[in-house]
Symmetry: C2
Subunit: 145 residues, 2 copies
């Protein structure tokens, strides 16, 4: 006889939202203790892989609303963490790169994030970790057509 779950415990969207929250919770707290905002972290982490994205491209990674990201980017430029460049091939667009200060910060945060992930997944074997991440990667690919 199959185990019976309550609605939310058998509802994929809830399981994802909850695990997402729980996985990030402590690390976000850790960031805030250091005086940084979670939004800054998400933006910098997204740029760390691929610098020079346009605002729209960056937004597809950080998953904010466009006006929210627009304003954050301006603020982060004022704080010398990012640089906004005009895109010469498309004059509507702005390209965003990380400043040297931003690079120093994100290098530090990336290391902390990896360390935190290691503690979160401490009880998972390498194989289990890859299985979990692999399933999520496939789900993401599947959903963003």
């Amino acid at each position: 006889m199959p185990k019976s779950f309550s609605f939310i415990d058998d509802y994929l969207a809830y399981l994802l939202a909850r695990s997402s929250y729980l996985v990030s919770e402590q690390f976000h707290h850790q960031i805030q203790i250091q005086g940084w905002s979670v939004n800054y972290w998400r933006i910098l982490a997204s740029l760390s892989d691929e610098d020079g994205l346009t605002l729209t491209q960056l937004n597809q990674r950080v998953l904010f609303k466009q006006p929210t990201l627009s304003k954050l980017i301006v603020k982060m430029e004022q704080e010398k963490l990012l640089i906004r460049h005009k895109d010469e091939t498309d004059k509507r667009a702005i390209k965003i790169t990380i400043s040297p200060q931003g690079r120093t910060l994100v290098a530090d945060l990336l290391a902390q994030a990896k360390a935190h992930e290691n503690t979160v997944l401490a009880d998972y074997s390498q194989k289990q970790q890859q299985l979990l991440k692999g399933m999520l990667r496939r789900l993401v690919l599947h959903l963003q057509e």
Copy 2:
């Protein structure tokens, strides 16, 4: 040679945040088209499993900030979707139950949510679905000590 991923594509927190976002995106839009807020949906869905939770208990499910939930609950009571009862055994607490109107609404939304999940997981076999959900359930259990 193992495939190499960019930071965010190998970072569990990001994979969860992104898949969570993608899975819920269309359904949230669907809710908003009908004139409801996503927050209302989350609150009602959480109560649908277990009515009569206190605000704190409910908040552990919906994952808001406490003042946010306090205000939403008051608003939803004014709109006759919920009822706030004094808890007689703990006079600080309030217990929250769904009103008849709320029940009608949540029944409708639950059906829509299930239908949406079915389309999201259409390409997954029953076995794969259980594997995915099972891994997430274990992750959640693992993280909430």
